[in-house]
């Protein structure tokens, strides 16, 4: 049975971003089994000709879409669904995607799953994988009423290295204006932190350090290594223990040091996305089931208040 899959392009200033290829990769996995038609939708103020490999492209062009607004993207997506009549709508799980995707599902009276990390196909049915229970368990979801809107975690569906043929491009000139949203303004706060950018070893503190006083321990551990820096999870920054310019993760910095030591960090998807490219990861956590251990090379189930002093003791032994 053939059906349509709609992919919402991720764009910046009218240009399609690379993460869109990952969405096509996800759609292709489904399409291989269901003989589906893939149509990518590009909302924006589009001035240059464009196309996308592996799918047809439907451009929703409007001056009111010059920049992202939840309202604008929702209207553009609704307009596109009237044309495409999709069974499945695939959106990137980014600060744009998760802002409007659930709304779209509700307005279409459909289902919604966010942060999807995988797909399992058995016979005639598809299940969608996402993580739950503080990242400790994987959940496979089945869905009822179409359409289904999913947001896909960036990095979960690697784009193929080969380029498929681009499909046909069609443009709809629309007049979409956000009515309830105004004075939209983007800014980039200065979060530079050269020490962290150049560090070969990063010792990161999470909520598990418990109190500001324990930062001393984290600093001492960092100073065991050459070219080291300290960093933190979002909670460590929210608690005022670590500066925001040393936050690692989705909304913080992406780092890839030779060694990343996670101290009292649970391993939420948002933190992992900032440090998963580190060469070696060591984690110290007292919870044996903490999600961080799934992304670690060396796992230490210990209370950090006991373990870190023991490590510092060991370091001292070798110094003298």
């Amino acid at each position: 049975m053939s059906h349509s899959i709609m992919i919402m392009c991720e764009q910046s200033e009218g240009r399609i971003l690379a993460v869109t290829d990952e969405l096509i990769a996800c759609a292709t996995q489904i399409a291989d089994h269901y003989d589906s038609r893939l149509t990518a939708v590009l909302p924006g103020l589009i001035t240059e000709p464009c196309s996308i490999s592996g799918a047809d492209l439907l451009v929703i062009n409007s001056p009111g879409l010059a920049q992202y607004t939840c309202e604008g993207w929702e209207k553009a997506a609704l307009l596109a669904t009237e044309q495409i009549k999709p069974k499945i709508i695939i959106i990137a799980h980014t600060s744009t995607g998760y802002d409007y995707a659930p709304r779209l599902a509700a307005l279409l009276e459909g289902c919604c799953l966010t942060s999807v990390s995988g797909i399992e196909i058995t016979g005639d049915s598809i299940s969608y994988r996402r993580s739950g229970f503080h990242g400790k368990l994987d959940l496979l979801y089945g869905v009822g009423k179409a359409p289904l809107v999913i947001t896909v975690l960036p990095g979960a569906f690697p784009a193929p290295d080969w380029q498929a043929e681009p499909g046909i491009t069609r443009i709809i000139d629309a007049d979409i204006k956000p009515k309830l949203t105004s004075h939209v303004q983007f800014s980039i706060p200065d979060q530079s932190n050269t020490e962290l950018d150049h560090a070969e070893v990063i010792v990161a503190a999470g909520k598990g350090i418990g109190q500001a006083e324990n930062l001393l321990m984290i600093r001492d551990m960092a100073s065991c290594f050459k070219r080291s820096a300290i960093a933190g999870s979002r909670v460590a920054c929210d608690n005022g223990w670590i500066e925001y310019n040393a936050q690692v993760g989705l909304t913080g910095k992406k780092v890839s040091p030779l060694l990343y030591v996670a101290c009292g960090i649970s391993g939420s998807a948002q933190h992992i996305s900032g440090m998963k490219d580190s060469k070696t990861v060591v984690s110290i956590n007292r919870d044996p089931e903490a999600a961080i251990f799934r992304y670690s090379d060396i796992c230490i189930v210990e209370d950090l208040e006991k373990f870190i002093p023991a490590f510092l003791q060991e370091a001292k032994k070798h110094q003298s």
Binding site: C70, H134, L137, D138, G142, R234, F311
Partner: protein
């Protein structure tokens, strides 16, 4: 101004979810601690701050769940909220955001809220869906990941600042009524004052019973199977005493020329 804050009670992240026999859901043991979803605590704080700025503002709390969630609603009253509504459901089963947003939308119907606050997501399930779905069902604008919020008193609008990926920001005005998904870092939640704790003791939580059957009818996304999460790296677990582990770690890092 009438404000509604939606809260969820979540289990201690260090507690262990146990997969049921059918492998369709997981349960927590009897002695598990529960508390308010961290993001929702920020949402409650933000509501109280607005009330301090704008005289005549009321702050209501709503939460869907079994008996145990009363303590989370009570805590919000202790922080200073005016009224607590408990949409009671006698079940620990999965409640999808589609269902939750429908139930809260129904609850909101005659309440005429100007502003609805939610957390950006729940810490345990991490969907981030309930808020935007609720807004869409009510036909009002919404913004997620909000780090700053101010009410433009006379204009019937709010100004919000969203946090985008990589820490970029975007500010905008939204016409009221509107829904805002609050991100951590927006404020520091207060501890309940003694006088508020006393007041909360005498404030009744208003319970509204929901029929379990109602939940089945509108069900949409369902969990088919649940399993231990897979690993990205083949990590090794160090064994032995604390000192032994410290010595092994030192040696391993030395071998990798990191020390």
């Amino acid at each position: 101004m009438r404000i509604l804050t939606c809260i969820k009670q979540v289990p201690d992240p260090e507690s262990r979810p146990m997969i049921n026999q059918e492998k369709t859901w997981a349960e927590y043991g009897e002695y598990t601690s529960y508390w308010i979803n961290r993001y929702d605590e920020h949402a409650v704080e933000e509501a109280l701050r607005i009330r301090e700025m704008i005289p005549g503002t009321t702050v209501d709390i709503v939460s869907i769940g079994p008996e145990r969630i009363k303590s989370a609603i009570r805590r919000c009253l202790e922080m200073g909220a005016d009224r607590g509504f408990h949409l009671f459901i006698d079940s620990e089963d999965y409640l999808s955001p589609s269902i939750k947003s429908r139930l809260i939308a129904e609850f909101c119907h005659d309440m005429k809220y100007d502003l609805i606050l939610t957390g950006v997501m729940s810490e345990d399930m991490m969907s981030g869906q309930t808020g935007p779905m609720l807004a869409a069902r009510l036909g009002i604008p919404s913004a997620t990941s909000v780090m700053k919020l101010s009410v433009n008193g006379l204009e019937g609008s709010i100004q919000v600042e969203r946090e985008l990926d990589s820490g970029h920001r975007c500010s905008m005005d939204l016409t009221l009524p509107a829904l805002v998904g609050v991100q951590s870092g927006i404020n520091r939640p207060r501890y309940p004052s003694l006088s508020n704790v006393m007041r909360a003791k005498n404030t009744e939580i208003i319970q509204i019973r929901l029929e379990n059957s109602l939940l089945k009818v509108v069900s949409c996304e369902t969990v088919e199977k649940i399993q231990e999460a897979g690993s990205d790296r083949a990590g090794i677990r160090l064994e032995g005493t604390t000192a032994e582990k410290a010595a092994v770690l030192w040696r391993m890092l030395r071998e990798k020329s990191l020390l």
